[in-house]
């Protein structure tokens, strides 16, 4: 199946899970990355169980914040 990751279309096996994609894409410090699929943000609790499907558009966004 085809999945678009960070704007780039790639071929992956059917049934790929989000944790598998994170590993394949070498996402650094994934626990601090917000994931959107088709412009919907994935809740942290749902990350482990999310299965991707053909045509999904995935973005990885680092949390950006700080304080005085």
């Amino acid at each position: 199946m085809k999945i678009t990751v960070a704007g780039e279309s790639k071929e992956y096996k059917d049934g790929l899970t989000l944790p598998e994609l994170i590993e394949l894409e070498n996402v650094e410090m994934p626990e601090y990355v917000t994931v959107s699929i088709n412009e919907e943000f994935v809740e942290s609790a749902a990350k482990e169980s999310t299965v991707l499907k053909d045509g999904d558009n995935v973005e990885f966004l680092y949390f950006m914040g700080g304080g005085r």
Partner: protein
């Protein structure tokens, strides 16, 4: 090797203006551009909502962050990092800034308004280690050699 980061005075002025307009709250955004052997070249500054709406904290709005990333891609720009203001503290990462700097590929720009004249610096933060980058402000009379 210390990274050079180039920003046009027009963008610097724009960050100063935006930051001052939002005082006493912290303001924040993203930077994008290109990278070559000379360093990083900021081509576009994004102004995002500080969802903390606070004088001493900031968090980029993730929805606006996503829109900015899509815009960068459309414009052929590379994400280079982020910027935020320190209304009443120096232009250096606070302990919280360091603890929350999760992107080792980002440049972290901090503009301080604690003195009469603003001060802008850029930092690389990785695994709690802070390195000041070589930030160069240029304009059409003084190009980014």
């Amino acid at each position: 090797m210390i990274k050079r980061v180039y920003i046009h005075s027009r963008d610097y002025d724009s960050i100063v203006r935006y930051g001052r307009e939002h005082l006493p709250k912290e303001s924040c955004g993203l930077i994008a551009g290109s990278e070559d052997e000379r360093g990083r070249h900021i081509k576009k500054v994004y102004y995002l909502t500080n969802v903390d709406d606070a004088e001493d904290h900031f968090t980029l709005d993730p929805r606006e962050q996503l829109e900015a990333v899509k815009d960068m891609r459309k414009e052929g720009l590379k994400p280079l990092g982020n910027w935020h203001s320190h209304p009443e503290s120096p232009s250096r990462p606070s302990d919280e800034d360091i603890g929350l700097a999760y992107d080792p590929n980002a440049s972290y720009l901090i503009i301080s308004f604690m003195a009469e004249s603003p001060v802008l610096n850029s930092f690389h933060i990785e695994k709690g280690e802070v390195t000041k980058e070589d930030l160069r402000i240029y304009n059409d009379d003084y190009p980014d050699w």
